[in-house]
């Protein structure tokens, strides 16, 4: 199971955030919003300075590259809860013990 945190931030900004959070997962930079556009989650002018950013979302993909679970909200306060995410991972075909955090 690989965890990717995706934003429009350049790699340096992601690296600094990763360091500050003590995170050991991978951050992906999508400064041009190509993946955001492929998923239709570009929030135009969503940042305070008018830049485009991502709508918050989570997508779980199985080993064959097929989407198995998604989460979205119409408010930026609400995010997927850990127990919801773990349940989705447990439900992956052939997941079993792999899903333990």
């Amino acid at each position: 199971m690989t965890l990717y945190a995706v934003s429009v931030d350049p790699p340096e900004t992601s690296a600094a955030l990763r360091e500050r959070l003590g995170a050991d997962f991978t951050f992906l930079s999508d400064p041009d919003g190509t993946l955001l556009d492929a998923l239709d989650i570009r929030h135009r002018g969503g940042r305070n300075d008018g830049a485009d950013i991502a709508y918050p979302a989570a997508v779980l993909v199985d080993g064959q590259g097929i989407v198995r679970w998604t989460h979205q909200s119409d408010t930026y306060r609400e995010r997927a809860r850990p127990e919801e995410i773990f349940a989705a991972i447990e439900a992956l075909p052939g997941a079993g013990a792999r899903a333990t955090p």
């Binding site: 199971m1 690989t2 965890l3 990717y4 945190a5 995706v6 934003s7 931030d9 790699p11 900004t13 992601s14 690296a15 600094a16 955030l17 990763r18 991978t26 951050f27 992906l28 930079s29 999508d30 190509t34 993946l35 955001l36 492929a38 998923l39 239709d40 989650i41 929030h43 969503g46 940042r47 950013i53 991502a54 709508y55 918050p56 979302a57 989570a58 997508v59 779980l60 993909v61 199985d62 080993g63 590259g65 097929i66 989407v67 198995r68 679970w69 998604t70 979205q72 909200s73 119409d74 408010t75 930026y76 306060r77 609400e78 995010r79 809860r81 995410i85 991972i89 992956l92 792999r98």
Partner: protein
Amino acid sequence: MLPISLLIVVAATALFLANVMAEGGLPFGFEQMIHARIPWLVVGALVVGCALGIGSLLRRRSLLRYGAVGLELVFAGLFVSYLTLWSFLPPHRLAVAPGDPFPDYALSDHAGQLREYSAGAADGPALYVFYRGGW
């Protein structure tokens, strides 16, 4: 009645903010309060608090009481607006649903390494979390 009204407004706000700062980790955490789409407990408490304030003002009026209830209404009004309106995003919908293939990409990771993904070359399951950016 006015002190109770003020207490409700202050307590509801403080509890919400404390939960946000502790990321839902407080023992009296009402976790769904901050994760809820609209935290009705907080919104409800603010409305009840303001109603009590207006009720007390109708019973006995003074400049000080007008000031206190006025401040309360402005504060609670702004906070409720944030919770029910301003923190909402324009309509949008993910282009993929369960059963769809995840799109190909070639993106830099935090170390500047190119990470490429294309359908069929998937190596194990992955969770992608899209966030609004570092701060």
